[in-house]
Each structure stands twice: as structure tokens, then as C-alpha cells.
Amino acid sequence: MDFSFTPEQEKLKKEFEEFFITEMKKAPPTYETGGLEAMFGSDVGWEFHLYMARELGKKGWLAMAWPEKYGGKDASVIDQVIFSEVRGYYGGPGVDIFGIGIVAPTLLVAASEKQREKFLPPIAKGELMYCQGWSEPNAGSDLASLSTTAVKDEDDYIINGQKIWTSGAHRADWMFILVRTNLEEKRSKGLTYLLLDMKAPGITVRPIEAMDGLHMFNEVFFDDVRVPIANRIGEENKGWEVTRQSMNFERSSIGIFSENQKTIEDLVRFVKETKRDGKPLAENQVIRNKLAELAAETEVGRAMAYNIAWMQEKGGLFLAASAASAAKVFGTELAQRLVYVGADILGQYSQVKESKWAPFHGKFETNYQNCMGLNIAGGTSEIQRNLVAWIGLGLPR
């Protein structure tokens, strides 16, 4: 047993740290809040994301784990996790969680050679941003009920229907989408996986305002949108299997924990500097205990994340699936608790939006409103617990 990094990994970690320390000085203040809000919520935020994506692309850090022939470095999962850990700590954007996180791993497993050669390089270079066409108004957790259709017409599919909760659809270049190609087949059968250009005629993007007023989510409407058959990944009607195959993207949730760590450090500084009723907040035993608890949980989460990385590294995808569900629910609920504790500490100032009166640029005000989203997006905490019970414990469905 050996928890240490190799000297190369130590070196890599330093490089990552130096990169983010330098580059994040250029970040607009909205990045203080972290998360997708900073990226999607404003033009400056998005531009900084694009800038960082291209810089990371140049470094080759976006596609680290890919085979060399697609522009990757055949790096280990551990290397990737180190990168994600550092990036999470500094709150750096530049990694398209859809393109890098989901599309690319899917293509690597399920696409034709030709498709890989076409679609992977722009992702690796940070030049093309994706969004995710999965949820529909009547299919949130239950993706098998999807009803957006695609009908073949010569060399194209023609798509009609609606997607929802599409983060960043108003900014993305491309979308990966699950559509129903066979109406006879039920549930998860009869679905097909396509890539489509967001500039295609017939696409309408309608913003959905988040609770705090920011614009991250969208509804996307499809009115006779044509997608070349050549953009289908895998076989027709096998879209469900295609999505299931792409589980070998990095699923450790490490970024949540390193981001937490940074937040805790900020709060420690805050409570030492801030007096209330004549005493530094840091002297309040309740605050000490709460921050200590969160710091402990963050250490625990970090250990968990590296363990998942190790399982993935060894190829234990089945066990890793349950562990990844566990990490997701543990991580997002921890992040939520941290926001709530931070809000308690800030007291009356926790309610203040980004302004001259707001500590941390209003981070806790906005995160107070969007932290629940983490427990919902990407599989609700309820679904994750079901999966842990079914996969991890073998309980009956």
C-alpha cells in the first residue's frame, strides 16, 4: 500500500498549481462563487472559460487520459484526479464537463474511428463546447421515458421535441442528445445517441432563470431539426447502451472536496478576522466544531475520491459505479452543509448579493440558492442512494 504520488505526479501537481495560481488572477470576480454559475451566468464569465479552455488545451491537460493518437497523453486516472483536485481548489474553469467529461469518453468507447478523428480533436483543444440533451419535462430521473423523436429522412435524422435543464445551451456549440427512434419499443429501448450542431435551423433555446436569477439552464425546442446520420454514435436504437458504456470518465467527485477545502480556509480566515459582540467568531465553540467537522468530512471525501480513482485505474468499473454514486451524494450533500454553515457564520450578511456589502462577493447568497441543484442534477441524491442499495448492497429493486 502506498498513498504517495510519484515524483512525476508531484511535479505535475506543482505545474497545475502554478498554472491556476497565475491564470486565476485574470478571473472575473464572479468566479469567487465557483460552479457553473460563474461560467454560464455572464459573458465575461464565459469568455474567461473559453480562454482557460484553450490554454488548458494547449497544455494538453484537457485530454490527458486519452490515447495519444487522439491528442491525449495516456495518463492515469490518478493524474486526472490530481488535475481535478487542483482545479477544484482554485475554482478554475476551462474544462467542459459535457465535452471533456461525457462526450469524449463516450466517443472513445462507442464511436467509429472516423467519428473519433472528427470530433475528438476540437474537444481536446478546448475549441468546441458541448451541452447535454438528456432530460425532458416528463423525464427527469426517469430517462427511459424520453419522447423527443428522430425520424430518418435520407441521410439525416429529423428531430422534434423538447429538452430541458440544458445547462449552457445558450453558449454551447454542440449538443449530445438522446432521442427516440423507435416508437414501438418501450422505455430504454429505441433510443439513439446523436451529436448535433446548436446552430442547426429549427433549434430554439429558451432560458430558465435559476432561483437567484442567474441564467444557466435552458429549455431547447426542436422543430424539424436535421442531423446527419453520420453524427449518430453507436447503432440506432442502442443509445441507452452507448450512454451506459461511457462510465469510465473520471467519477471521483474530487473537485467538490478541494473546492470545499478552499472555502473552509476562507471561512477560517473570516472568523478569525471578524468580531461579533466584541469577540472573534473564531472563539465560538459551535463555529469551531462546525468548521472542524466540515474539514474532517472534506478529508474523508478526498480519501474516498482517490479510492474511486484507484478502482477506476484498476478497471473495477462495476464496484466503482456504486462508489461513484456514493461519492456524488456524499460530496454534494457535504457541499450543501458547508454553504449552510457558512451562511450561519455570516449571519445577517449571508443574505447579501454581490455588492459592496457582500462578504466573498456574495458567494454564500448565491450558493445558498443553487446548492440544492447539486443534489438534483446528474442523478438526484435519491437515485444515487437507490443505486448504492441496488448495486453496492444487492438489495432488490
Binding site: 432563470e209 436569477g213 439552464f217 459582540d277 449571519g347 443574505q351 454581490e354 440558492q369 440544492m372 441543484g373
Partner: protein
């Protein structure tokens, strides 16, 4: 023991409910809260016409008798159907403070003006230091000529931007005991030397920073007696806390109701999500918290209304309801799923207000420490 409301109160409740549902749909709430004024003068005028602004005061001061439980009923309904209005600032925070601490003349003058809807008022209590205690009062009122000069900054003053008058809680004397030497001044909100800026808040609730730069106030504008205001604040706060609690309980009930309805109607995996046992238990816990919140609300409000000493119970109610309302709205968002996290979904209105309400008149930590002291710790 009789734990039912009387018939008049039931009528008040249902008429308030109907009025608010009709006059203040949630789309309008969203519109109002983003407006500069942060309230609808039109609806406010209708509330005045209905006599709501006089509900908390005795007939002698232009009110309608002032049974405290009537105010509780009304606040509960205003919480159930959110209505951005200066009611709490004017009638509860300011009105009850004047009723508690004002001279007979002041009560006659200002309460009647509030009751007939002639003025909007607010209480300028908190300061940038973020304290809920007397030691937090540092805005100074220094004797000069025949009056006082006020300097300093008040924070989180709701509706100061639309107020005609402010009750400004200031320090007129330094003392080892911070509860001594505190005085309340009746101040015209537009008086020279006052700057008011809206602070953007999660609750979008007209929260203001009010800066006093050498604001001269005549001695006559002292509310009641100089130097003795902290006791007044404490007593009127008990009533105001319970009124705020009523609003919160109304909001918690509405949150439970809308979430329960959604759970019955939203289908996933071929069944309403309300059939999943985990969702049922979430909702059961929410219901238990709404129920218990209402139980403690009514008991303690009744005691406060009867002037039975119950400081511990007031803090028990506020701390419990603070946490219950946050819990209920948070679970409400979770059960709603994606749509729950959006501005267009009503549950978010309540989620935001739950946090804002906690911060008014003492957050949970503050009230737990009060309780600790009251139980002898």
C-alpha cells in the same frame, strides 16, 4: 383550555386568504420584489381599506381592538400567500414599538396615522456589526442645543426606501451595561443628512442601509423616555417575533401543500413520485415540522398576547420555526427536483424567504443562547 380560534378570527382568516390569493398571485410577487419600490401601492391601499393596518392597536389609538391573535391569523395568511408589503415594518415593528414605548401623545398621533394607512414606517435597529444584542447599538445620538445629532449607519432596515418615518435606535449614553443608554428617535425618513441605499438581498425584501450624517432631531422626537429604550425593544420584539413566526408558519404550510400536490401529480417510473416511500417520509417529516411549528406558535403567541412572561418560549418558538421553515422549503425544492431550483417555481420564493426570515429578530444561534440563559446556563 380552548385551542380553537373564534368565529371572527376564522372569518378574518378566510377573507385574508381569499384576498391575497386573488390580489397577489405569485407572478405578481416576482414582479413586485424586483421593482424599485419593492411593494405594490395599489395592493397596499387595499390592505389599508380592509383595515389590516389597524388590526394590532386598541381602539383608543385608531385600531380595531388589537387582540394579538388577530394579528397572528393575518400574518400567517400573509406568509402563506407571500405579499411584499410594508406591513411588517410599519404595523408590527414600528407600530408595536410605539404602542409599547411611546408617550400617550405619540401613540395617539402615530398609531392612528399607521392605522389609517397615512404613513409607512420602519425600525432602524441593526448595524454593520451584525449583532442582535444591545452591545451592537453604536449609532450615536449626541445632545446638541435643544435636541440630538445622530451619526452612524443602520443596516438591513426593511422598507426604509419607502418609509415616511423611521424609528432609529441610537445610543445616547455610554454605560457599562450596554442595555442602558439606548434611545429610540422618531425620525423623518427624508430628513437632511440621511442617505438610504437598498442592499441587494436574497429575499429581495427592500433591505436598506441607512446612513446618518449629523442628522438633527428635536428632543420631542424621543419615543417615550431617553435611555430606556432597550427594554421597550425587548418587549415589543417578543410580539414582533411571534408575528414573524406566524408569517413563517403560513409559508411553511404553503410550501408543504404545494410540494404534496406536486408529489401526487408528478409521474416518474410510471407512478406519482409521492408513492415512493422516501418521498413520503420526506413529506411526513415536513408535515411534522409544520404541525409542531403551528402548535408552538399559537401557544406562545397567546401567552405573549396575554402578557404572560415567556422569554424562553419565545426563543424556543423562533429557533424551532427558523429551522423548520428552512428544512421544509429545502426538502420542498428537493422533491420538486429541477423545476424547484428555478425562479419560476413558487417553492423557491419560500425557500429564499425562509432564510431571510431567520435573520429577522434573531437567528437560531441567537435564540439558542437566549434559551440557554433562560434555563439557567
Amino acid at each position: 383550555m380552548n385551542l380553537d380560534f373564534n368565529e371572527d378570527q376564522e372569518i378574518l382568516r378566510s377573507s385574508a386568504k381569499n384576498f391575497l390569493e386573488k390580489e397577489c398571485p405569485k407572478d405578481l410577487v416576482r414582479e413586485i420584489e424586483e421593482s424599485k419600490e419593492g411593494y405594490s401601492p395599489e395592493i397596499w391601499n387595499k390592505m389599508i381599506e380592509l383595515g389590516w393596518t389597524g388590526i394590532a392597536f386598541p381602539e383608543d389609538y385608531g385600531g380595531y381592538g388589537g387582540d394579538f391573535m388577530n394579528l397572528i391569523v393575518l400574518m400567517e395568511e400573509m406568509g402563506r400567500n407571500i405579499i411584499p408589503s410594508p406591513f411588517f415594518s410599519t404595523v408590527v415593528l414600528s407600530g408595536l414599538t410605539i404602542l409599547e414605548g411611546g408617550t400617550e401623545e405619540q401613540k395617539k398621533e402615530y398609531l392612528e396615522k399607521i392605522a389609517v394607512g397615512e404613513i409607512i414606517m420602519s425600525l432602524a435597529l441593526y448595524e454593520p456589526n451584525g449583532s442582535y444584542n444591545a452591545s451592537g447599538i453604536t449609532v450615536s445620538a449626541t445632545p446638541k442645543d435643544d435636541g440630538y445629532v445622530i451619526n452612524g449607519t443602520k443596516m438591513f432596515v426593511n422598507d426604509a426606501n419607502i418609509a415616511d418615518y423611521l424609528l432609529v435606535v441610537a445610543r445616547t449614553e455610554d454605560s457599562d451595561n450596554p442595555e442602558e443608554g439606548v434611545t429610540i428617535f422618531l425620525v423623518e425618513a427624508k430628513a437632511s443628512g440621511i442617505t438610504c441605499n437598498k442592499v441587494p438581498t436574497m429575499g429581495l425584501d427592500n433591505s436598506c442601509e441607512v446612513i446618518f450624517d449629523n442628522v438633527s432631531i428635536p428632543k420631542a422626537n424621543i419615543l417615550g423616555e431617553a435611555g430606556k429604550a432597550w427594554e421597550v425593544i425587548q418587549k415589543s420584539s417578543e410580539k414582533a417575533i411571534m408575528a414573524k413566526c406566524a408569517e413563517m408558519v403560513g409559508g411553511a404550510q404553503a410550501s408543504l401543500d404545494m410540494t404534496n400536490a406536486y408529489a401526487k401529480e408528478r409521474v416518474q417510473y410510471k407512478q406519482p413520485i409521492g408513492k415512493f416511500q422516501v418521498i413520503q417520509h420526506y413529506l411526513a417529516d415536513m408535515m411534522i415540522k409544520v404541525g409542531t411549528s403551528r402548535n408552538i406558535l399559537y401557544e406562545v403567541s397567546w401567552m405573549v398576547g396575554q402578557n404572560i412572561p415567556c422569554a424562553m418560549k419565545v426563543s424556543a418558538a423562533k429557533s424551532w420555526i427558523n429551522e423548520a421553515y428552512k428544512f421544509i422549503t429545502e426538502r420542498g425544492v428537493q422533491i420538486h427536483g429541477g423545476i424547484g431550483t428555478t425562479r419560476e417555481c413558487d417553492i423557491g420564493l419560500y425557500y429564499r424567504r425562509a432564510k431571510t426570515a431567520e435573520l429577522i429578530l434573531g437567528d437560531t444561534g441567537h435564540h439558542l443562547e437566549n434559551i440557554a440563559q433562560e434555563i439557567g446556563l
